[in-house]
Each structure stands twice: as structure tokens, then as C-alpha cells.
Symmetry: C2
Subunit: 412 residues, 2 copies
């Protein structure tokens, strides 16, 4: 009894779990790149690796499926898509073994990634990291298929929002590691989109909350769900470029920095639709009713603004362009004699930074900056660490540039 | 207790298991063909389906692997290759669902196909047909990946000799079905190779033993291992063409026919190497020693002929051309002063038929027929239902033609 107990303690404490590396589709895009990734792993010695399908492969598989059927909420669809990651796991494992590293190639069932059975958009319920830990203990390097899971009754699933970044963070947590490095094809998270603003620079350290605001506003480096989970589980998340030596961007907890930059970054998005609903004489046309009937249909509303005139309430709000038509239809069906319009020629621009909380006047400075540059603000939304403005779409690039100059380039 | 017992009996007896269909790579070769296979299954209602990878897909995957490493005896190689069948299972399942059939897509772990862990050439240890039977009971149509299995500790394997025909027969047995239909791209088993002999016709019923002799001699319709297993387990094996209405070839048990054709078919093979070893003065150079040292290296020897002259023993035998060089090397290392030669310009031609056992003079007639056509016989081998001759390679086509005319076309 004493011996068993000792052995178990030894077994559990003996194993040091280092970082988990995740490589995206571009990093796995060719045999040459896979060999490069293997070299990188040989040098940096992660404890486990999570991989995506080779770039283009998932599309190829999806197109094969589409030739037959558009039914994607079925187990065979997920089984098809999962074969893409399976190929990546296999090829990277071969390349590692060639370098004298013993791989433990694992698909979701072996890796213990349990999901619900919402095929084509499954959510991870649990990562049972035992098989992975046992492999690490044996001195093997687990190479795990991202973007997939397995249901309780043994069907493969593919993940919904968050994808393989979320796999990587969930696996990191599931095996008791404290660090997850997401290797991608950019050097890190930029202060704003460098294609719009050449002065954009890499943010070396960013708070999770800032990262969430940046990601959800369109700085598409990481899936937002993976950032949420990393913050929740206290995992250090790092974004690096597979093909450069840049140190990348590291996500840090809010309380680990005393005072941040006032503005860490500028995010922009052009996928919004601006809806003006009302006025309507319908007595049920109020804030609560309008937004609960949209929520019932799973329509996410972003900026919301309420006005009243002599004819009744008027609501200005934004939804994703893909939800725009449906939103109008729902409102028309629910409220009598309602005036409705939708405008897709808009963009949202946001400044993000934890320093905002302690610095007054940031919003005023943003509005003045936009006004001085003749950029009309249509709607405004604010949070503790973000101010977002809806502006005309054709002005979004110049807005990014002037705001970046105002807040980021000067380092204020 | 009584109720439970009743329920179990009901559960076990209620389920009727019809035939298992297996579709090869050509049958799954395109989306159009997969749709055709789905139509065929809708019409003929098999109880389960086993599929190969789309034609060309396995080669594509193997070539990807080769770009990295030639190491194939590793789990990642089998995981890679297995993705080919995974795609086929998924696509056929989508096509079936579109036709109102609910598929149960299954890879080896779910289907319960257990193998040893000889990666890239695993052998099936057991098919636990429970999941497949449960799916059938639910009214689903199981679509199962051929050519793969799973080890006890959860690693995917790919099968060695026998491949997905063997999967299909093992699954047929594992779920308690009595019939396995192998769908391929030929109309059945021919009396001889129709490319060599235009008079070749389909054999409608063939004994398992004859089929084994035909298959192992080069009539490559079915993997020999699947025929052996079907015979052993009493499974009716049928070969049909996916793309024609031909009734195909049915394999029957030896005792189910009173008397067969004298000669059912003519098989030929051009992959033999003829080795002449000896004479040697070495006292250890004898029949037992020579063939046990070759067997130790897993070299299969086919025809064997021993002669003695004044200088010692001389052995004439054939091996696969791929084993020829290795055979010479082994013999050279083991025996002193040995004379050795290998000749690949040979072919083996065999006549096969259960009727031979009861008809004397078949061999003599074969030799006379060959002699009359100036075809030299280099070596001879015989079994109860087969006579095989090694002949010069350039004469193989005319040998097939004259023997087919002599024994098969006349229906004697």
C-alpha cells in the first residue's frame, strides 16, 4: 500500500510538462515546411505538438463533400474533414522520427479529446490527457490532430468556432502544461493591420482582455475562444512565426502589469451591417422586445443606440452582414408599420488598451482626431478597455492610419 | 431473469444479417462512381459495406510519406495510409444519406477490427462485430473502412497481404453474415487472362481450392488470404463487376460439386526468378539446409527440383524476382565454392482444376501440348488440383493460348 502510494506520487511528480506547440495549415503547407517544423521542434523541444491540416487540404475535402451533399451536420462530414489533420500528424511524425525523436501520433480518440455530438461545430467537453502524459513519460513526443474530437460513442467530430487553436489550449490544460505557443505565418499580434498602416508594429505583451477585444474586432491572429480559455485556465499563450526568429507576442494576465499602454492597438472590421429600425407606433416596439427576438434567432448584435422622436422609438444597431437580411425580416414580421433600413457601407474601428481605464479623455481625443480628419462617427460603443466607432466604409483605412499615429506610433 | 433471457434471445435472433458488399478503389474512383455505388446499394440492400481508398489516393499518400522517409514499419505510416479509406467511407456515407439511407460510418476502432501491431502489414486478430450489429439493428447501414485495423492500445494499422478483401471477409464472419460480395472492375474470375487469350470466359462457379491456385498463380482478382479465410469460415464469396449487370463468379465449397471441370482455368505469372544452385562440395549443401536458411529470411520458394551429379547436389528452384538477389547472397555466404545463377527470363504457367484428381494423364497431355508447340518446360511442380511448368518468358502468351484451347475452350 505504502509502495503503491509512493510509486504513484513518483509517477505524477516525475514528469515535467513543457510547452505545447501548435502549427497551423500554412506551417504544414508542404513537405518542405513540415521538415522545417520538425527541425524547429528538434531545437526547441516542446512536450507535445498540435497540428492543422495542410493548407488547402480542408477545402479540397469540403469540396469533395459538396459535390455529393451540403449536409454537414452528420458524422461522415466530420470524419471526412478529420482526415486532413490525420495526414499532417502522420507526415510530421515521420519527419520527427527521421531526426531521432520518437513521435506518438495521436488522433482525437487516442488523445482523449471528448466533444459533444454537434457535428461540424462540436465543442470540447473534456481533454483526458492521460494517453498524452503516458507518451511524454515514455520519452515520446505526442503529435496530436487539432480541430477534431470524439463523441462518447466513438464518432469523430470536427470543432466549431475556435478550431485547432482551441484544441491546442484545451490540450495544454488537459495535460497540465502551463504554456501554449501558437505558430502561424505572422510575427505576432500587430498594433493594427500592417496592410492598412505601414507603421503597425508587433505588440510584445498584451493582456488577454485586450487580445479578446483585438481578436473580436478583426485582428484575426488567434481564435477568440482559445484566448478566452487560456485566460480562464491561466495558460501562457504565445503567438510566433514558424518562418522567422521573431520573439512574437505573449499574452499576459491583467494583474501581471501595473499599468499598460493607454492604447495597445487599433482594430478594424468591415463585416458589419448598420440597421436603423423605427420609428414604429407598435407599443411592443421597445429595447427589451427588439433585442430578445433577435437573440432568439441567434443573431449577435454589437453596437446598440436608442433614440426617441415624436413617432416613437428608433434603434440604431449593428449585426454581421450575413445576418442583416434575416434581422430585417424578423423585425418586419414582429412589429406593425415599422420603418427599416440596412446599410453595409460601414466599418467599425476600435481602439483597445487596458490603460484607458485609468486615463480620462481618451474617447474625446479619439472623436476629435476623427473629426479633424473629416471622418464621421455614426455610432459609438465603449467598454472598460475599448472604444469603438462605426464610420463610413470608404474612410476605414485613413481612420486606422490617423488613430495609429495619434495613439500608437507616439507610444502614448 | 426470465425477461432478460427472453430479451437477449429476441435481440440476437431478431436481427437478419444479409450480405456484406466490398467496393475496391476503382469502384470508389470518383464522385460519380461513388454515387453509382450508392445507387447500387439502395437497390441491392447489403447489410454492411466495406470500402477501399479512391483509386490513386493510397499512392498519393505513400508518395507524400516517401518524400520524408522510407520508414514504413511505424504507426504514423499506417495512420497516413488509413486516411484514404476514411475519405471513401465519408463520401459514400454522404451519398447514401442523400438517398434516404442512414449510414453508420466506421473506421477500424469503431468497427472493432483488432490487429497485431506489425505496422504496414498488420494481421487481423479478431473482428468484434458488436458495434456493426448494433448499427444494423438500429436500421443503419454500416460503411466500414477496409484495409485498416487498430491495435490493442489504440493505434491505427494498415493490413498486409489480403488487404481490404480480407477486411471484408473478416467483417462478414465477425457480424455473423454468410455472404460477402467483392465488387471490382472485372466481371469475375476468368478461365485465363483475357488480355492474353481472347477466348477466356468467366468461371461461374469455382471451388475455393481452385480459386487459391488461380489467385496465387497470378489471376489477381481476389487476394488469396481472403479466399482462404472465406473457405475456413464457410462464407460464400462472390466476385462481381460494379459497372455491369454480370452475375459474376461464385466460390463454392469443394464438396458442393460432385465433379468439376478437369481444368477450370489457366494461370500465368511472370514474376519468378529461376535459381540454379550447385554443385557444391560443401557437405552441408543439402535439401534441408538450403531451404531452411532461405525460409529463415522469409523467402518463399515455389518450384523445387533436386539433381545430383559427380560434383554434388544441384538445386533448381524459383523465388519471387524481388527475392532473387538476396537468395544468391545468402547461399553464397553459407556454402563454400558454390556455383550460382539466377534467370528472370522465365514464366510460370499452371492449369488448375479439381477434376484433375480423378482424371489420369492430364499432366502428360499438358506436356505433349507444350512440346507440340515448341515450348520448352524447364521445371515442373504439381499438386492435387494443379500442374505448373516453368517455361521461357517469351513463350508465355502462346502457352496460355494453346493450353486454353486444349483444356478450357473445348470444355473437357
Amino acid at each position: 500500500m505504502g509502495l503503491n502510494s509512493n510509486e504513484m506520487t513518483k509517477e505524477n511528480s516525475d514528469i515535467h510538462i513543457g510547452p505545447v506547440f501548435k502549427f497551423g495549415g500554412t506551417s504544414m503547407g508542404s513537405i518542405e515546411r513540415i521538415e522545417h517544423v520538425a527541425d524547429l521542434c528538434l531545437r526547441l523541444k516542446p512536450s507535445a505538438i498540435v497540428v492543422s491540416a495542410m493548407a488547402g487540404e480542408t477545402n479540397r475535402l469540403v469540396n469533395l463533400a459538396k459535390e455529393i451533399s451540403t449536409n454537414i451536420d452528420v458524422p461522415e462530414y466530420d470524419m471526412l474533414v478529420a482526415s486532413g489533420e490525420q495526414v499532417s500528424v502522420s507526415l510530421l511524425s515521420l519527419a520527427l522520427r527521421k531526426r531521432g525523436i520518437e513521435p506518438a501520433p495521436m488522433l482525437a480518440p487516442k488523445a482523449g479529446i471528448l466533444t459533444d455530438s454537434h457535428f461540424s461545430r462540436a465543442s470540447i467537453l473534456k481533454v483526458n490527457g492521460e494517453s498524452i502524459r503516458v507518451a511524454i513519460q515514455k520519452g515520446q513526443l505526442p503529435v496530436i490532430a487539432g480541430f477534431q474530437g470524439v463523441t462518447e460513442d466513438g464518432y469523430l467530430t470536427s470543432l466549431g468556432r475556435g478550431g485547432s487553436d482551441t484544441s491546442a489550449v484545451a490540450i495544454t490544460s488537459g495535460i497540465g502544461s502551463k504554456e501554449c505557443v501558437i505558430y502561424t505565418d505572422v510575427d505576432g499580434v500587430f498594433t493594427t493591420d500592417p496592410r492598412i498602416c505601414p507603421e503597425a508594429r508587433i505588440i510584445r505583451k498584451i493582456n488577454y482582455e485586450e487580445m479578446l477585444e483585438m481578436a473580436s474586432q478583426g485582428s484575426k491572429v488567434l481564435h477568440i475562444r482559445s484566448v478566452q480559455l487560456a485566460a480562464k485556465w491561466g495558460i501562457k499563450l504565445v503567438v510566433k512565426n514558424t518562418f522567422s526568429q521573431d520573439e512574437g507576442t505573449e499574452m499576459i494576465m491583467m494583474d501581471s502589469t501595473l499599468e499598460g499602454e493607454i492604447v495597445s492597438g487599433i482594430a478594424s472590421s468591415q463585416s458589419e451591417s448598420w440597421i436603423i429600425a423605427g420609428p414604429s407606433q407598435d407599443p411592443k416596439f421597445n429595447l427589451a422586445n427588439v433585442f430578445s427576438i433577435l437573440a432568439e434567432k441567434n443573431i449577435n448584435v454589437d453596437i446598440i443606440n436608442q433614440m426617441v422622436n415624436s413617432k416613437g422609438n428608433i434603434f440604431n444597431f449593428t449585426v454581421a452582414q450575413s445576418d442583416s437580411e434575416l434581422s430585417l425580416k424578423i423585425l418586419k414580421n414582429h412589429f406593425s408599420n415599422i420603418e427599416l433600413s440596412a446599410n453595409n457601407d460601414v466599418a467599425k474601428i476600435s481602439i483597445v488598451g487596458v490603460g484607458m481605464r485609468t486615463h480620462a479623455g481618451v474617447a474625446a481625443r479619439m472623436f476629435r482626431c476623427l473629426a479633424e480628419n473629416n471622418i464621421e462617427v455614426l455610432l459609438v460603443t465603449t467598454s472598460e478597455i475599448k472604444i469603438g466607432c462605426l464610420i463610413p466604409r470608404n474612410l476605414v483605412n485613413s481612420a486606422v492610419q490617423v488613430l495609429h499615429k495619434e495613439f500608437v506610433s507616439l507610444g502614448l
